[in-house]
Symmetry: C2
């Protein structure tokens, strides 16, 4: 199953900011096949593996002008531009990639791949298991953030890249960026980490748990073997509604919805407030574009990620890094990846002599700020890339 993002909803976590000038224009998602697959952290070998990716700009002769963008939980390789001229929205971080933008395609070769376990062209639970001729479902091996990065490491070599000028990620994308600098230290010149963390908080694990229980409890889930049948839409919608609440802030919900009542359902209990209609809409859109098994695997990859695992401290773990510079940005209203987690990253980077620009950006949008506060992020990114 290959699910495409809906026309009116890019696969990011929030509405896409649209600016036309400097756009990369019409782009296409391509893919590379790794017929032999790769070994996974869990011990299994997954094969074959297909990796969907997009690129913007040109690789220079020295092959050292690449920027690798890591996407978050439910996004895709489609960062920038449009697939068709009539696409209503461009890619999920379009405003950051193009001529004159933060990641300037006049200078840089920007790459993003759909992460392992997702459902936008890279191998995941909805892919066909060639041993059975049917989708993997829960037979898909457990994957880690390290596995996602291992696949990307092969991809960037296939693309002829020799070194990454920067690895950039917001939210779960930041975990992948951190892991890049730990696994392939010689490859990573700088890190841009936005609204992210070295590990998920117990609170976010607890919130993921609620979504996971909603999916597993949906009678259509059938142990993950629902392909070709009705999918566990209600459970997945519940998980997404809850995720959405964690992407926003209380203050922003007051501004956008307040306590305004929904028009419909005057006698019923189901939908009394506008915020509820909004969440229902978000849930409905999401189940049209995302696979429930992928959602489970990716949530668990986040939960299990710990950049300090196997080391006495985060600073000890980061001793492996060889990157020179980093930007670490958090947002004042983000309670999913709170600022104290960015501070831990900053401290561990600085303990290893990385030159870090650290910013807590005042923003009301909650965790979604990383997709919306492009005007505040752009100068920070440009400064790092200019140095």
């Amino acid at each position: 199953m290959m699910l495409g993002p809906g026309r009116d909803d890019a696969p990011g976590e929030a509405p896409v900011v649209i600016v036309e000038e400097g756009s990369v224009g019409i782009v296409a998602t391509r893919s590379v096949a790794l017929p032999g697959g790769l070994p996974l952290d869990g011990g299994a070998r997954l094969r074959p593996i297909t990796v969907a990716y997009e690129t913007y700009g040109e690789l220079n002769a020295a092959a050292d002008n690449a920027i690798l963008v890591e996407h978050a939980l439910t996004a895709s390789a489609h960062v920038a531009g449009r697939h068709r001229p009539d696409d209503r929205a461009p890619g999920w971080w379009d405003v950051m990639v193009g001529r004159g933008r933060a990641f300037d395609t006049a200078e840089h070769f920007v790459v993003c791949s759909n992460l392992l376990g997702s459902c936008y062209g890279t191998t995941g639970p909805s892919s066909i298991d060639r041993r059975t001729g049917r989708p993997y479902g829960l037979g898909f091996p457990r994957i880690t953030v390290g596995d996602m990065v291992r696949v990307q490491h092969v991809l960037v070599q296939r693309l002829g890249i020799r070194r990454l000028r920067a690895v950039v990620g917001g939210s779960m994308g930041g975990m992948q960026a951190i892991e890049w600098a730990l696994r392939y230290p010689e490859w990573v010149d700088s890190l841009i980490l936005v609204a992210t963390a070295a590990r998920a908080t117990p609170q976010s694990i607890a919130i993921h748990k609620v979504g996971i229980e909603a999916i597993l409890g949906d009678p259509h889930f059938r142990g993950g073997d629902y392909y070709g049948e009705e999918p566990p839409a209600h459970g997945l919608a519940i998980a997404r509604m809850l995720g959405h609440v964690t992407y926003l802030s209380d203050g922003w919900l007051w501004k956008k919805f307040g306590r305004r009542r929904a028009p419909a359902d005057p006698a019923g209990l189901r939908t009394l407030f506008e915020i509820e209609s909004y969440l229902e809409h978000q849930g409905r859109k999401f189940v049209e574009r995302f696979d429930a098994n992928s959602y489970l695997y990716l949530l668990r990859a986040i939960d299990l990620y710990d950049a300090a695992e196997g080391y006495g401290s985060l600073a000890d773990s980061f001793r492996r890094m060889r990157c020179r510079k980093a930007v670490v940005a958090s947002f004042s209203s983000d309670w999913l990846y709170p600022t104290y987690q960015s501070r831990e990253l900053v401290d561990a980077l600085r303990a290893n002599a990385v030159d870090v620009a650290s910013h807590e950006i005042q923003s009301e949008y909650g965790h979604d700020s990383f997709l919306l506060e492009h005007e505040k992020l752009t100068p920070l990114f440009r400064e790092l890339l200019a140095s």
Copy 2:
């Protein structure tokens, strides 16, 4: 259906603090019947109505030493003491009620009733609708916080009380206390409002929505007509798990659980961390003791409550009040009823010349602090009652 709280889990939101000295001892829940019922804010007349309540201490000759305690979402009239000598835990706020305690039964007559719509002896959706001979289910009329208070107003008159020395409530209990002072201003001498608000935030409405969808989506829910059959246990457990996350704080979850792994389920996706086992346990215990329809009705009563409704501002609305004094306490780590909501109450009370003692208590327990921080709350309550 009358559900009793389990022996090892009082119906409060958190573990009960147990202190033996000064205990009220063995107590019993009693009830009064209102055969003619009462009119509801929604226009219907609900009849009959039964009200379950407990009292501690003695009403004085002037009938003016009563303190009315309002319980929160899923608690009961059983505030203090034990029903049986071998009960493992006493009532949900036992530590506050007894000789020498904050609500000193040597001086005061303390009353608590199970709220309308609940399932601990007061009429609710699991009660028999005498028109059909079967439980109301979703045929139960929609109820408001005002309706809960109207029932209590009849109860206190039946008990011979002439004036309430204080109305006390934490969380949703605080909404009832506010409503008492608005509906029956001559009755209320003082208010004690803890971790509460004049209205639910859109964020808490959104979180309730997720729990409501989980209950409604459970295949055993059957439109609320599940009595005598298997109840919607998984949906209700999901709602409770999520509720539980909102009662705690990120900091406290780090301390209590951190990222410790659960022992079981090494290959599966379901239960990877200790915090998840804990939430599963909380969910299981809850479905044994609470009715899903009651949960829906009570969540919606919270969502719809707005102490300013029909008035230009909260201060305008509070002009009806006649209470002299109030304590308003919030907790630094409570993100469900954040301090800014208590400040709104303080401002509106002071605008109406109520003498308010306002406190933000430093606490790591999140919203549950109102049940756990008895040592910090007791002197505040005693000071108000002594004056």
